[in-house]
Symmetry: C2
Subunit: 410 residues, 2 copies
């Protein structure tokens, strides 16, 4: 049995303590916890080795640091939706959809003031905020402890084409000869404005490196997790970003596409900080932050996720943030521009995600100034193949979508 | 009498040594020497305080360094086209167009192997190379020594609108709050490809600086000096670059236009190194190097001016070079692209300076994909006003062009 997680020596010790998964007390987890177990085990959420204790949660929400002073903005907690009988040091088995997934060494079972947790992280108590709602909906007890994955997920197509663990990311970067990697996070089907964010970010990350053989790459890292009605379906996000390089709009020389399993918390500035940690774990050196990063509604100002970095010592960051203003199409320049470099503010035509969605809903091909024709075609093909006819998440998609990954019987 | 040059204490000593300009032995200089005296005195060519000695020339052509080990790639020499009687320590007067210009403290009068000088600097002896030709045409004796300007040039319109000494450059940068300044050198009327070189360079120089209040600026620094038939006239280069920001194509927030008096040597890689020195003297932090920088004909490969920096320790450079590939118009992307970031190489439409010139010669307005309409209009207006009807240098222009600057009687 392979144990995916941290520290070889530790693993051997743990292995001694339990013989067979079937002999362990077991607990079935929901999707969020299963995804986070996978992300922790592969190192996406390093230095976390498991779910947080009371002291860790307390330190994170109050200080935005772990008790060992490492920067960490959002509690990663395992809320106990079923009862277990466990004390510190016990090893328990974790199942997902009835299949073995992981083992855990229990550290603590604790309660925490969920309103306080929500308010500190999201700067609001408003239950309409999806992160606040998620927090308040947590069960009353939290289970803390380190985890080891014992059953690796087998991803289904198209996810399997883009699945890379942090270690695999680093290996690919090494092979490509990239010394600098700027990550573009997305949950969107790309419009042309996104392309130029990536291209400008490439120049920002490349700084004064020679460009004969590019040593700077762009990682498009899609966040795959809980979906909301009206979101683009996951399969479409992946396959349309893939189309951008397939059809040459962003050169294959500098483009790589992958994903991270993570339920968006919409925590705006604090989530931006978490994204720097996840992406530095992938080996990235630079992270794009545009307008409304990880925000929702009007809870955060458009560039609040930029401002939080004013108060973070750059020695605490393992990645360089690249702050970009929103792009627009400038009919006068005839190109995608932004308020810093072009003065034709009065004529600017902003990219409107909602307008674009409504055009697509009507099955109208958007102008190629806004969306590449190949991106639209693949979006519509993906809708048929994976979205039950819709490029957007519907109730039916949530019910019937194909699984992202399978677990073997182990 | 103001003495423009280096070191107050030194000046006072020198002033003691000469009473009146009219009492001095005088020498009349040609345009190149006059321009270089001005550039030396204001600090464009710092740390040079005057014209080079034999040892300095020898060290520069062999080691690409001054004898004190400071990086310096091109000899700055004063060839003696008229006879003087002078020995080390003598103060002589320098006139230009019959007007007092500067004083010089003689260090040395020497000969140097001009073929060797040409070959080391230009990597060719071919007299068709304009830099080689200039070198071989130098008189047989060179005059070395420090200079002080005693009569400041008064620039004529339109030059006067863009004249900034190194000190004034720094003051303007300070006032604008720019912490990083990326310089774009040009002797061209801008096409859209130039705009995108500047914009991409802006992102490269800005690195991960926040963009709310831009702290990065673009200095367009025009080289004003010896003209060749068919070049754009100087007035047009200045006024069309001015139009780019005037009409909003590059925001005024990030744009500044100025010029340096310098006769292009077309020394390719070595001249690129000189340009880093001049621009660091202006207070710039980054320097754009595109294709064929300071090259001519096929003497240097397209990116040879990039490669020379591989062999220069970055601690010897006072500025960060930004290396950019040539842009092209990509009809598939519908935008200005480059080979690093777009894969549609087969469809690319390269900017052709000569095609553009021939279109303009026929008084045909180029497509706005290539040249902004306001740039074309101003080019044509400038041709009438300053170019005797032509936007390009003609024999007639060389003869009758208005002076760049005047010298008072002092």
């Amino acid at each position: 049995m392979n144990l995916i997680g941290h520290g070889r020596v530790e693993i051997i010790e743990r292995v001694r303590k339990f013989r067979e998964f079937r002999e362990l007390q077991k607990i079935e987890v929901k999707r969020q916890i299963a995804h986070e177990i996978i992300s922790i085990a592969y190192g996406f959420l390093s230095p976390l080795k498991g779910f947080m204790t009371y002291d860790e949660v307390d330190s994170v929400i109050n200080e935005m640091r772990l008790p060992n002073s490492i920067l960490w903005p959002i509690p990663i907690v395992f809320d106990l939706t079923s009862k277990i009988n466990a004390k510190e040091g016990d090893i328990i088995g974790i199942t997902y959809l009835g299949k073995p997934l992981a083992i855990m060494e229990v550290k603590e079972i604790f309660s925490y003031d969920k309103v306080k947790m929500a308010e500190r992280v999201y700067k609001t108590k408003d239950v309409k905020h999806p992160g606040v709602k998620r927090t308040l909906n947590y069960a009353d007890k939290f289970l803390a402890g380190d985890i080891w994955l014992i059953n690796e997920p087998i991803f289904n197509v198209p996810y399997s084409n883009f699945w890379l663990t942090p270690r695999m990311h680093r290996e690919v970067f090494e092979k490509k000869g990239w010394k600098r990697i700027v990550v573009f996070q997305t949950r969107n089907v790309p419009h042309t404005g996104h392309e130029y964010l990536m291209k400008y970010a490439w120049f920002a990350a490349n700084e004064n490196e020679k460009v004969d053989e590019p040593k700077t790459g762009i990682l498009v890292n899609v966040v795959i997790g809980e979906k909301r009605i009206g979101d683009y379906i996951d399969e479409a996000i992946l396959l349309t970003h893939d189309a951008l390089s397939k059809y040459g709009y962003i050169s294959k020389k500098v483009h790589l596409l992958s994903f991270t399993l993570w339920d968006m918390r919409y925590a705006g500035p604090r989530e931006a900080v978490l994204h720097t940690i996840i992406r530095s774990n992938l080996g990235c050196t630079h992270h794009v932050f545009g307008r409304d990063h990880a925000g929702v509604g009007n809870y955060y100002s458009p560039y609040e996720a930029h401002k939080i970095f004013d108060n973070i010592d750059e020695r605490d960051l393992l990645i360089k943030p690249i702050f970009l203003r929103e792009n627009y199409y400038c009919p006068k320049c005839g190109s995608i521009e932004n308020e810093i470099l072009c003065d034709h503010k009065d004529e600017k035509q902003e990219f409107s995600g909602s307008l674009l969605r409504s055009v697509i809903l009507d099955e109208v091909k958007p102008t190629k100034i806004v969306m590449r024709p190949e991106v639209y075609d693949i979006l519509m093909k993906t809708a048929k193949e994976y979205g039950l006819g819709s490029p957007f998440v519907t109730e039916e998609y949530l019910e019937k979508r194909q699984k992202i990954f399978e677990l073997g019987e182990e």
